[in-house]
Structure formats: C-alpha cells, structure tokens
Symmetry: C2
Subunit: 352 residues, 2 copies
C-alpha cells in the first residue's frame, strides 16, 4: 500500500455473506490497490469462487470458508461497508478466531470493535490489536484562517454515494505525483485510510465538528503542492448530505471533480427516490462551494462498470455535451486527462 | 414552560462570566419563555445587575454571586452556549455546589456532565440528577418513505447561526396553535429542548445519522396538523453547514422561513469572513431543499434588536423588495403575518 502502511503484511479480507461490489466496497478498494498483499477473502457462502468473479477486481484471489481454512495472515480487514455501519452478526465468528490467532483486526464500522466485551477480552488474552478506523476524538471547530495559498485543493463529489470518489481521488493524487506535482491523497473514509495509512472517517465525527475535522486534515497536509480530498456521500443523497456538506466547506476546494455511475437512476438505499439530473446536482454543488471560496468543476469522472465499450463512448460524448466539461472513466482511460485539467487550474490560480 | 416540562419548578440560570445575548443564548431563551419560573442568574462578575440589563430580556431578574447567595431552586440550567460546547472551568464551582444541594443540573454542552468523575460522584452522594441534553444514541439512517402527507412541515433557516431561528420557530408554532392549527414545535437544539421538554440536539449526532435523527423527530410528531422544525447553524456558516444540511434534508420541509439579524455582515466566530448576500443564501437553500421535495420560502424573519423603530421600518421595506417575500421582526410585530403565510401554504398544498 502507500506511505503510511506496513507494506509486507499479509491481509485477509472478511466479506462474509456480502461479497458484492456495493456491499464489499472496502474489500474492493484493497484488492484494487494492494492486491499483492491479499491472501484471500473469507466468505463461507461463496467457497470456490474468486474475488474477480464476485467483485470484479482481485483476479484469482481465492475465497475461504474460515480463518482456519485460509493461509496465515497478519491482518484481518473487515471488508464490507453496510449502510449504517453496524456489524452483521455473521461476521463475529471469523473476527473472534482472527483475534484468538493473534492477528490484528481493522474495521471501518460505526460499531466499535474495542467497545465489544467479547472482542476486547479475547484481544487482551491473545495480544491482538483491534483498530477502529471510525473511532475519533474530533471536538474542535474550524477556523478557516490559515490555509496555505500555494496548495491546490481538489475535491471529489458525487451525485450519490458509492460512485467511485475514493478511486478517482486516489488515482488523481497518484497521477499528479507521477507528473511531478507533489500531491497528498487525503482519506476521509475507511477504505482510503486503509490504503493511505492516515486520514479521518469524517462520517463518524459529531456533526458540529465535521468542518473542524476536515480543516485539520487540510492543515496537516497543505505543505504539499496539491491535495486531493476524498469526497463522501452526496448532496443528492439526503441520508448523508450533511457529511458531504461538512466536507465541502471544511476543505474549501479550488477545484471539484463530479463523479457518477452511469445507469444509476435511483438514490442508493432509498429506492425509488430518483437521483436529480446531473446538471441540477452540479449547480447545487457550485452554489454551496462558492459561498465563501471561488471554485469550479475541472472534469467529470464516469463510473461505467455496467457499460459496454460502445455504450461508454456514447455516454462520454453525451455527458461532456450536457455538462460542458471533459469526462473520463479513469479506470478505462487512465487519469492523465484529469491530471492535465488539475495542472491547468493550478497555473490559472498562480499556485504552480 | 410548555407541554413536556414540570411547570412549577424554580430555575437558576448559570451564566458565569458570559452574561451577554450571544454567549448566554440558552439563558435568554428561558428568560423569554419561562420567566415566571426563573429565580435568578448566577454570575459572580455581574453582581447587582439584572437580567434585563445584561441580556435584554428577563426584566428585574437578579444576578447572584453563588448558589449559596441565591434563593432556593429545584434546577440549575447551564445557560451559556459557547462555540464548541466545552464547559468553561469557571462554571465548575457553581455546578458542584448545586449538585451538593441536591438540585437537578441540566446542560446542553458537548461536554457531558455525567461523564465527569467529580460531578457524577457528587451526584451519587446527593441524589442529584444530571441531564445532558446533547447526549444521544442516534445510529439509524433515514428512510424517507413514511412521511404523513397531511402534516405541513415548516422549517426555519438562517444566513448565520444565532439569528433567532429558535424564537421564530417557537412563536410560529404557538401562533399556529392559537389560530386553530394543531402544531408541534420540534426542538433540535438545547434551548428548544429545555422549553419544549423533548426533541434532539442534532448538532451532537454523529454526522452519518443526522438525517436519520431528524427524520425520527418528524415521524414522532407528524400526527399533528403542522410541525415547525427549529433550524440550526446556516449553510453560509461553514463551521456548522453540515448540521444545517442534515436537518434540511432530514425533514424535507414544505415551507421555509429565512431568518437573519439586521446589521450583521460577518459570520459569527469566523470574522472577518463576510456573510454572502441574502439573495445568494436564499437561492442556495432553495437549490438544496428542492433536490427531493418541492419547497418554497413563505417569509423572512428579521432580528432587528440593534435597530431603532425608524431603521426597522426601512430595513423591512428593503428586504421585502430585495427578496420579494413578506418580512417581520416577530418580536416587534407579532407572529400573525407569518402564521397567515403558513396557513396559505397549507391550503395551497391541500393539507388543511
């Protein structure tokens, strides 16, 4: 993985009963960017399948029925990200066994492993460590008076949750670095934190302090030439729009990237609530972002996993015309187009 | 006070060192609506003054230097609402003494009285009760599928925090009730909760669940003909805009009331950050509120506490012309104008 994490550890991903691209978002992210460390998935309902078959990434990575059936590993990562973040009961047995075996267990649930009597008692006996990525102690308000004027602040936003903002943020930061612009990926959710080794899961911050928690992330890394702040939720998903809003104002971005999944018409988890037209969502972000800091969209990231090559070409042309912005699926076409737009903005703003 | 609270209890308000209208927001609200129960303020730095002199409400209510100097009371209410909600150390002595005397202590701080070893140990000995209004256990996501179509949902919003949204909400609910429309004031902050005896301090909810906590309030009281959901913060105050957003989408209002304080040009606590023009703030609220539910502004509430009568008349005329909406300071002119607009909306929507 990247800077902050131990790169030689062997990882098992726990996706018990939930090995689908939407449910196993965290596992998918790890498989995409840290595949060489992953020794397998644990899902007793999918034995014999591979990660590639189930999640569309991870190739031949095998699925095991239990910790004892799987190869030895150093870490068990809870690989699912269910709405509400409670721990499904079906995951307890594997977590207990991993702790008994002395493995570290990392979780991004709202459910806190360390607060669970069974888990913490087992960990005490085995010397295992329990890492709760959503545990925080953020109780500071934002000040907004000491942003580094030379650091370009980029931020990914979406028309719904689970559209690929983390992937685009991670790829964009990597692409900018490769093109010579010293850039930090600022993780704001559990999968990003697992990949980057730092960050803050802002959706678990008490709502009065979400702006302050985000500002703290910016201040911590604004010594870089650019930062890419990972987005969360969506202004158009009323379950999570408060989180999205706090992030947007907390980082006061110079440039935004609009992310959406082609073919999705209803808000995830709130079906049949329709997702508003992209134009409307885009102009709403612009209205909010520009209340206190000048900001513009630099491009659109299409998640086209459900489209054929032909359908994708059509979709790209249509969305570029509709929004008058360049658009790419960065997994199909690479990140260079978006990197170029970010560097253009940097020059325009006199930040590079 | 209103429905939920014991109405015969005697109240002391603790505003130690912070007896100003902005700092002592909670005390001000209690003095405005429950004056007959208040026996005094505790502020050792303002002995000899009256509440009226210090806060502009509460008339001759006297200020005492300590619990022992003050008349007997049943409840000590922490009357301040500092940014960040931490407990100033200067308040500890009075709180300890109140607990020792067996009084109930109610607080809306983010600082939790029950988690403080000294307070909880004293309370255990004296039998005193500690009430933390910002303590909650909200971990449910919103569903948005079971709102009562016959209940009119009204919501107050502002161009900054501390502009009078609680007062307008409380007055509007009372006014609607007096005009025969069975209406519930839905408290979303500590002062509102103290007055109403129920509600939820949504700014202390973990940000992923603010929509869910708000929805739960609506569902609990949508058997009324109308509800007035108290607003918090502002989309234009980037410290708290996440809270504001979560509330706005959580209650999906039919009608909004725009609240602002005349003469204020900078965001409270973030000076010299300018407050954007009212037109811009209003259109931003409209863009967000209408993403999933049709909604319109029904009027403007002016907080004109700093204006002379003449200045107020000019301000009212100007803002009505600028926003093309009727406007009142409801404390100067009464609530009937806003009640009429709410009832008009109710008829238009076929809800009454």
């Amino acid at each position: 993985m990247s800077q902050g994490r131990v790169e030689k550890e062997r990882i098992l991903l726990l996706t018990e009963g939930l090995s689908t691209p939407l449910s196993a978002k965290t596992a998918t992210g790890i498989l995409r960017y840290a595949l060489s460390q992953v020794v397998g998935l644990i899902d007793s309902t999918k034995i014999g399948k591979t990660a590639g078959e189930l999640l569309g990434v991870g190739g031949d990575t095998p699925v095991y029925s239990s910790i004892d059936q799987a190869p030895n590993a150093d870490v068990l990562i809870v690989g699912i990200a269910p709405a509400g973040g409670d721990l499904p009961k079906s995951l307890r047995r594997a977590i207990c066994r991993a702790i008994e075996c002395g493995m570290r267990v990392e979780s991004g649930m709202h459910f806190i492993l360390n607060d669970d009597p069974e888990f913490s008692s087992l960990a005490k006996n085995s010397g295992s460590t329990l890492v709760d990525l959503r545990k925080n102690n953020e109780f500071e308000l934002a000040r907004f008076d000491s942003f580094n004027p030379n650091c370009l602040r980029l931020h990914t936003v979406g028309n719904d949750c689970c559209v690929g903002k983390m992937v685009v943020s991670f790829e964009l930061a990597r692409g900018l670095n490769q093109s010579g612009c010293d850039t930090k990926f600022v993780a704001t959710g559990q999968t990003g934190m697992l990949l980057e080794g730092d960050g803050c899961a802002v959706d678990s911050v008490v709502s009065d302090f979400i702006g302050g928690a985000t500002e703290r992330l910016v201040l911590a890394w604004q010594n870089h030439e650019a930062i890419v702040v990972e987005g969360q939720g969506s202004l158009a998903n009323p379950r999570y729009s408060g989180v999205t809003m706090g992030l947007l104002h907390g980082c006061m971005p110079d440039g935004l990237i609009m992310c959406y999944e082609s073919g999705r018409s209803e808000v995830v988890g709130l079906e049949p609530m329709p997702i508003p037209p992209l134009e409307q969502v885009l102009s709403t972000y612009m209205a909010l972002a520009n209340l206190h800091h000048t900001c513009r969209f630099i491009g659109v990231a299409i998640n086209s996993r459900l489209l054929s090559d032909e359908e994708y070409i059509k979709e790209k042309e249509q969305v570029e015309n509709r929004l008058n912005l360049p658009a790419w699926d960065v997994l199909r076409e690479g990140i260079s187009g978006l990197v170029d737009e970010a560097l253009k903005l940097r020059v325009q703003l006199g930040k590079g």
